[in-house]
């Protein structure tokens, strides 16, 4: 088990290193920072001085090491727009994003999973067909279309809910529903196929043949085994709690990380973009790590086979 966790930790560290490298390489490829910040016709001495003060005259690997150390300590420099540290700007937006993504996650889990399990247990019934139809819609309707249709119905036509902003709890309802509905549809489809796969296994037949009541077959044999593949997608959902609301936040003018990212990208506020990139990478990696460990816990075979390898 220790070996299992160490390899997973190493993989997580590698992914973070990758993101930092990616940001560094892309940053250097995107042009000379001296040219970006000073103008092209700045005097050569000024450019030279700028280069020296930013360490751009040192060898590239030294620049990279310096960059990586700064990045990992959360120092990306100041936002070009309001001069505050980029990491601070990002961190203060995180609670706002979580305020809509966490309730949406609950909707996904408590609607998506039961719907998928129910659909699998009543295969080809009306409810199964309905669940599948809704979940196909969840795949093919882009979130901004769903969001705008909800706005059209509940804000424009009925006037029940506000169409954008963040002044009261009512403002959070439409963003939460938009995020939750799409995710629940995906999760329902996934859970259903995982469940169907498990229900076709010989051990289910054995269990019911030896007289275990059907309810207990489902609860003790089918659900735990179907949970294994479902954990992956739930992990991805948890990992994207910060990243997953880019479009929805923009539609509803919700002041979260996603909207900050969109604004930073269109202003080319690179410090903020890098800070968000690393924050998202950290959350994805942490979630993946938890999923990997959950896997090992749910499925002892995995733990042992990888442990010996």
């Amino acid at each position: 088990m220790l070996f299992f966790i160490t390899t997973r930790l190493a993989r997580a560290a590698l992914t973070i290193a990758f993101v930092v490298t990616f940001a560094f390489v892309v940053l250097r490829l995107s042009g000379d920072p001296a040219m970006l910040i000073l103008s092209v016709d700045a005097p050569p001495e000024a450019i030279e001085a700028f280069r020296r003060s930013w360490g751009l005259d040192r060898p590239i690997w030294e620049q990279y090491a310096a960059y990586a150390i700064k990045a990992l300590s959360g120092d990306f420099g100041n936002s070009m727009r309001d001069g505050r540290p980029a990491i601070e700007l990002v961190l203060e937006r995180v609670p706002m994003t979580l305020a809509i993504t966490l309730p949406a996650l609950l909707i996904k889990l408590f609607v998506g999973i039961p719907a998928g399990v129910f659909a699998a247990l009543h295969r080809n019934s009306m409810i199964d067909r309905l669940t599948m139809m809704v979940s196909v819609a969840g795949f093919t309707v882009p979130s901004f279309v769903l969001a705008l249709v909800l706005v059209l119905i509940f804000a424009v036509q009925l006037g029940w809910l506000p169409s954008g902003g963040s002044e009261s709890w009512q403002h959070a309802i439409l963003p939460i529903v938009t995020l939750g509905a799409a995710g629940a549809a995906v999760l329902a489809r996934f859970t259903r196929s995982a469940m169907l796969e498990v229900l076709g296994q010989p051990y289910i037949r054995t269990a019911s043949a030896k007289g275990v009541p059907w309810r207990r077959v489902i609860a003790d044999h089918a659900l735990p085994n179907a949970a294994i593949p479902t954990v992956t997608i739930i992990g991805f959902m948890i990992g994207s709690l910060i990243a997953g609301a880019v479009v929805v936040e923009s539609v509803f003018a919700w002041p979260g990380v996603g909207r900050l990212l969109v604004a930073a990208v269109s202003n080319r506020d690179l410090a903020v973009v890098q800070a968000i990139l690393l924050a998202i990478a950290l959350s994805m990696v942490a979630a993946n790590l938890v999923v990997d460990i959950a896997y090992g816990w749910l499925d002892p075979r995995l733990r042992r086979s990888r442990g010996h390898a």
Binding site: R11, L14, T15, F18, V19, F22, A23, V26, L27, L29, S30, V136, F139, T140, V141, P142, S143, F144, V145, L148, V149, V151, L152, V156, S163, G239, S240, A243, G244, V246, V247, S250, V251, L261, V262, A264, V265, S266, R268, D269, L270, V273, Q274, I276, L277, I280, A281, M284, V285, N288
Partner: protein
């Protein structure tokens, strides 16, 4: 004689009916009505994309300030603008047609790039094994662990936007799916007799992978392309919706929705028309993809 003539039609009638029905049933089993409808929609979109210049009634940038925000035909709009006009009096139908062309083009080239890139890397990994494979697997892990939209946004922030860059960027979406499939299938193909047999006959690697392995894994790759294509349509339209994808004066489906959002109360048709096209197109391709998967590749379920 009379017996035969009277009984034969009856017999015929009795046997022909179920046969006819089963032929129809068999036809619809192979070609479900949903699939036919989806294929028809995709066909229509292709015709529109290819003939955009001929089909568009107006130039997509031509504005008619006297006919601003006209509702579509059937909702009180004039005859000459079937889907209404936007706030500059530009014909929504013409813009829709041009947008369909650009969105489909981007998705087409994006899918092509993703499939080529991913398949090549997958085959390379399976061919060289060792360190090359480890690096490619690491890249796959990285790509799968980050939401691609975030990577795309970061790249757009660093490099700014041009159509060429944008299309190439879309091509990096889901390449890892092809790499995984191609690697797995190539590894197993290499262990099967046919690859070993042609190698024994003296064929080089290019010939083995190009002429023998690739055709054998093509159906799985094609099915994956039906997954990537709608995903890229959704990704492109999402980014364009945010104003970070296709830039004006060019227009794509996502652009139209993003732009129509400003007029959601006064002129919802501007955003509804492209939304319907996005949904029906992605839906149709998914339906056809499922159908293809069942026909071509029963192992991939």
């Amino acid at each position: 004689m009379t017996d035969i003539t009277t009984s034969a039609p009856v017999q015929d009638h009795g046997s022909a009916e179920p046969q006819l029905r089963s032929r129809a049933a068999r036809f619809f089993e192979a070609w479900p009505p949903m699939t036919i409808a989806a294929l028809a929609w995709i066909g229509a979109m292709l015709v529109i994309a290819l003939g955009a210049d001929l089909l568009a009634p107006y130039s997509f940038t031509a504005f008619d300030l006297k006919a601003r925000l006209q509702p579509p035909l059937g909702f009180g709009g004039p005859l000459n603008h079937a889907l209404g006009t936007d706030e500059l009096g530009r014909d929504v139908l013409s813009r829709l047609i041009v947008s369909i062309r650009l969105s489909l083009l981007i998705a087409f080239f994006g899918t092509l790039i993703a499939a080529t890139l991913g398949t090549s890397l997958g085959i390379l990994a399976a061919h060289f094994r060792g360190r090359t494979e480890a690096v490619i697997l690491m890249l796959i892990d990285f790509q799968a662990s980050m939401p691609f939209m975030i990577i795309a946004l970061a790249v757009l922030a660093f490099f700014g936007n041009s159509l060429t860059l944008f299309v190439i960027l879309m091509g990096f979406h889901s390449w890892e799916r092809y790499a995984r499939i191609a690697r797995g299938l190539t590894l197993s193909a290499n262990e099967q007799g046919y690859a070993a047999a042609v190698r024994q006959l003296g064929a080089g690697s290019w010939r083995i992978y190009g002429r023998h392995v690739l055709p054998n894994i093509a159906s799985t790759l094609i099915v994956s392309m039906t997954l990537t294509f709608p995903e890229i349509i959704l990704l492109e339209s999402g980014l364009s919706f945010l104003g970070l994808g296709v830039q004006p004066p060019l227009t794509s489906l996502g652009n139209m929705v993003g732009y129509g959002r400003e007029y959601i109360t006064r002129a919802p048709w501007i955003l509804l028309a492209p939304s319907v096209v996005i949904v029906l197109t992605t839906l149709s391709i998914s339906i056809v993809g499922d159908w293809l998967r069942d026909r071509l590749d029963p192992t991939l379920r």
